[in-house]
Symmetry: D3
Subunit: 285 residues, 6 copies
């Protein structure tokens, strides 16, 4: 996204936190400046640091970014150093920390899942879903990428993904995929959610680009992969596993041979990374 659009989004959010003024920071005189650091209180994977740094620069602060999105940082690491008007900094502090802590949390969860999955299958992708917090999709998808994950589709507009509720209308995987093939633009892929190895084969035969194995056991995933291989369709179709995957069983799923494992919790339930802003010097006018 062009950075000017990011500034605008962040400004909207700032307005949520400051409907009128900051009743506390306004006690500090306008001319007072300070130096401060963004300090990690625990280890994690950095995400959206560039966006936050650019926003702070746009607001008039001097920023030195010390960690890039995608990098691991340890407890006690300084992510950014910032200098500028103290009153203004304390006014934006919370928004910026809320965004950063959440984004790093998403990136960290993604990285941890990816590390485990790759132990068993070095080519598997870990992907996000559309289970993102309202308004935060851009930042969460960026954070997933920072963690090494695949963003998956970004919105309802950019892919056909036939899910169980759609299948209730169509009656069968085959009917649904064929309807999609007829109606959809050549520019988008067609994915379908299936609930058995046999349906995976049916989907591939009907022309699906991606099959999502939903809530299958690792054993069933393996079986689906085999069916596709036997039918000579393994190369033509991307196999995605979704539903019920946790850090505990992800290796097992990865070993079963899918191309992609997608997980909602890396966005909707990621624990925020504890990051704080520490003023290290007050420069009175």
């Amino acid at each position: 996204m062009v950075e000017e659009l990011i500034y605008r989004r962040l400004l909207d959010w700032l307005a949520e936190d400051v409907p009128f003024w900051d009743a506390t920071s306004r006690l500090i005189p306008e001319g007072c400046r300070c130096r401060a650091v963004f300090l990690a209180k625990e280890r994690g994977v950095a995400a959206c640091v560039e966006e936050v740094a650019a926003f702070l620069r746009w607001l008039g602060f001097a920023v030195r970014q010390r960690v890039a999105s995608g990098e691991e940082f340890g407890e006690g690491s300084v992510l950014m150093e910032v200098e500028g008007a103290m009153r203004k900094l304390l006014q934006v502090e919370r928004l910026v920390l809320n965004l950063l802590s959440h984004a790093c949390g998403v990136a960290t969860a993604t990285r941890r899942a990816l590390e485990r999955a790759r132990r068993a299958n070095p080519r598997v992708r870990v992907a996000a879903t559309r289970k993102t917090l309202p308004g935060l999709r851009y930042f969460e998808k960026r954070a997933v990428e920072a963690g090494g994950g695949d963003p998956h589709r970004l919105s309802l507009s950019d892919m056909v993904l036939i899910k169980d509720n759609h299948l209730r209308y169509f009656g069968s995987v085959r009917a649904a995929v064929e309807a999609a093939r007829r109606a959809a633009s050549f520019a988008v892929k067609v994915e379908v959610e299936v609930s058995s190895p046999e349906e995976a084969l049916e989907a591939a035969l009907a022309g699906a680009d991606v099959v999502m194995l939903d809530n299958l056991t690792p054993e069933q995933v393996r079986r689906a992969v085999e069916l596709l291989e036997r039918a000579g369709l393994r190369e033509r179709v991307v196999v995605e596993v979704s539903g019920g995957v946790t850090l505990d069983n992800i290796e097992e799923y990865a070993r079963a041979g899918p191309d992609v494992i997608s997980m909602g919790w890396i966005t909707h339930s990621a624990k925020a990374v504890d990051i704080s802003l520490e003023v290290v010097e007050v420069i009175k006018p």
Copy 2:
């Protein structure tokens, strides 16, 4: 918030998920209707159900709400029944689930913390902070209330809360509180973050309405309460504990006698409750 403002916010978020159209649901003909249920896949505390129900009604759906915000629901519970245009329902499904799952997650986290705290101290309040996800403050604060918690301040505009970074400017708790008392409107309360029992007393003597004991041990909290009692100030000042409180130690903190225990994780790191929309009947035109 007037419901018309809520609809507008939710519509903004819907636009994030549907920048152009829903490439999948448009396969379903306009006239096709369906009945569906919002099904809890795990137990939790309901939140923002009224907002979601009102929004769905505004979009033209018939909605029967079966659980009210604040109520506990079990695994397998139906939160709402909804009937209307199938294509449209599948288009808003994910947004509405993302909001609901998160809100219920926040309410559940709050309730669990409150239950533990109340075992030790039946009058203690569990409060939220401003560590909310950007754009979601209204809904998260509502969810905290649904869980039985106290929303705490809503924005930077409605309270003076002097934190460690502000204190770096003022030099002392007393100087900061006095500056606030002089400058702030009579309409807002003045709170200050302190890092020792002695500072708590200093704050109260300087006229703070609320003292936030930040990262103190339960023992230090008890000591702060005693100092205030001895000085005859316990009734005049609200004692808030913040920082480092977890489900494991909250009872201990509650027992130490504060009025309020505030926790960021109930908003920023609450695990989403697993809720899904299940189409139970397709009504073809």
Copy 3:
């Protein structure tokens, strides 16, 4: 797009035409009603009629839609009948006509191109591009579909399409496609613009999902198709022709065997269809 989002967009546009009030229509008393028809002054293909009808209903008018998007209509046809407050109708008349005339113009241009292309190649698709008027993409893409065309990608976010300017950075088609394959999500297709039959083969070998033959002669298109067939890649890759296609040469291009022919002029230079609103009865209060 959910209709509520369409109303909002149309309301924004209405505000452009009525910054304060309609200096003319306010001469008509509030209570005066009328019946009116949307009348085609020339033949064409209907588009966006449902959107306009829904918007008018949302504004309080009774609307009877007589032609569906996608249908051909003749000179003198009535597209819609509308009844309601006269002052308000005359205030929205121009906006609604401007949108409708343009959308029908786009649909008509698409249909004419498609008819010719299909004479030579009954399976070829005629597709739009991103050469749409600012702010009108949703409506123009819908109009292209109404004309029987393929919308192609909707935005920069939903496909990788490497164009000549991108190739200047990568140096070769192969390098660009390989970079895209590595970086892009499995959920999006990768297309690349090529300028010779040989590059088309290079693109397909590198793993492109779609090759866009840009400004090639029909003969070169035929040659590219042959190269792909010989390499056994014709089934694996979509062949799109773009650049320099007109109503005069589209048959020739279609005959050369591509899957898709895309044309910017069906959106950016389509002649508006002449449609007017005629008040047929004034109902004074």
Copy 4:
């Protein structure tokens, strides 16, 4: 319009094309810069070049404008040279070209019409109408001016223009004009659409500032002008011709002696001028 308002409008439109990110240009590293030119592939009249140049500068690009709005340019002309971040440039390229091509198309159509009209009547004005694409009125009216045309009224708020549909309510031109004279501010002009030379006289006698001769033949226009002259009202009233004017008959209309000829097609059906952005140098970091 203050340029800051223009940037905002263009940013809104950019968001339409980049709901999340540019899946292609992000393959190019952030630090890579380039030089590029806006190249005319055919001749035309420039319009909105200043707006686009200012916007690009605001986004951080160095821009050298080589053609001013209002100037004719030939095939192969360079309209602007631009230098800056390559990734960002390719992200805004399409929006900026879409706007520029359309604006130049409108200016060119206006200029061609004006040239012909002026051959027959060197003082006649060629004017736009409100038949502009939704959201584009400011830019289209600017483009009409660049072509040498008169923008006519900008919105429904800034003039009284009684059209046939309004006349259905009032019953007669005279009644309508008199009602307008009574109700309208002294600050706005009153125009009325008439369908015969006799009505033109009736309008002028009733006090209209402008009479619009709608769908009259050139002969009827001449007759209307004569009637006004004989009544001594020719100086007091502006005579506008509208409806059915094309490049083929505009000279004939102009010769009939009106002050203004207005045409919808110069905005709603102008052919876009073919302009492209060509990267001429890639500057890798």
Copy 5:
């Protein structure tokens, strides 16, 4: 303005007053209803009552409007009766009263000025200026009309009005008016501010449609009118008086023979009319 645009504007303003929720009215249960009246505590002229009534209806209230905009009301008059959800009514009460009190204040000031001016000159118009409160122009101009006044131009876009600061650039009234006549659309009027009777004549000779006599004495106004009459230009030009006009001297100015007297204070300094909302019955669920 289409009412849907008014609702949107009022909703924006409501969000200013309710950034999160109404901390007081939420104490009242959702189901509780009430009847209430808008009560005038002093006499005045009604304005914007229709807009407020429509907005309240749109929010779900039953409204009975008892006074129409433009009507005089006495102390103790009921302007509207309203019935609906009590919590919601108390939430919008203040916004609606703030708007109504101000609009009625503007209408009342306008009416009082008009009454005096008409004693001396029954055909003179009292007009507003652009000295309106930011964001309130539509409502203030409507209120001026309700008071019997002329709204004058609505924005900078709909008229040429050359003021003293513009004249500093042009050097003379004549040069300025001639430049305007050349550049401006035939659709807009040209007005110029002059500072002597002689300049008024100069302006009229140069082709101004309206001359604004700025800060002239009544005697000078009379002199300007005479000069124009002698030159045979009185009918061709509208004479507007502005600057220094008060309720005390307006009769004297009116008697001097201008067409229009414009006054900033009727919008920027009008005293609000005291109106309150009184709940007359609480209907508990």
Copy 6:
């Protein structure tokens, strides 16, 4: 409020005044610059000067601020000197003057009331209400502070203030205050409007933080203060007087011993201070 949010608000308002372009100032060539001064035509108290100066700088003007918000200025004072593009300056002139004149008017009204009140009671506060013009609350509250007043609550979200209409639901002051104490966050104060000295005592006993004596006589105010003192509650409760206070009786009220006197008219009916922009030098290119 962060200044970037203020620019955005002012830009919104500018768009109200310039929906398309400034038909007059565009006569001045782009390159022409000027120097100008903001000149006070009468004495007053400055407010919002910093906001306006920052906005003008953001628009590209060089600004020298000569008077700070809160300072008294005399007739003929220069508040700011500004230099930059003449066309642009004349385009923003009116918006900026409208805001400044109104803000200074509010500050001046507040200061005058405060001066009188302080004669009788040097510690009394003069406070604003929520009777602010829609959209202007931030600026009006800032202006009240500039005048030396207390802004009081900023919105419905940041305080509980039980008014007469709420009391109709609760039946008694005591019931209402107790309900508020139970439901409200510890972070907000609870105020209640009372209509007799006895109710003031009832409110304080029930735990109100602030009691608003509404429309009491000075004698009744004194009596309320005495009742509170006798009950030992005077220190625990803030006493606010509201309703019917004017410049004529404010001393009398102040003498009766309240902590705060709040007045709606300082915002809703303040007379604008006459300020104009005078171009002092035109610098042609």
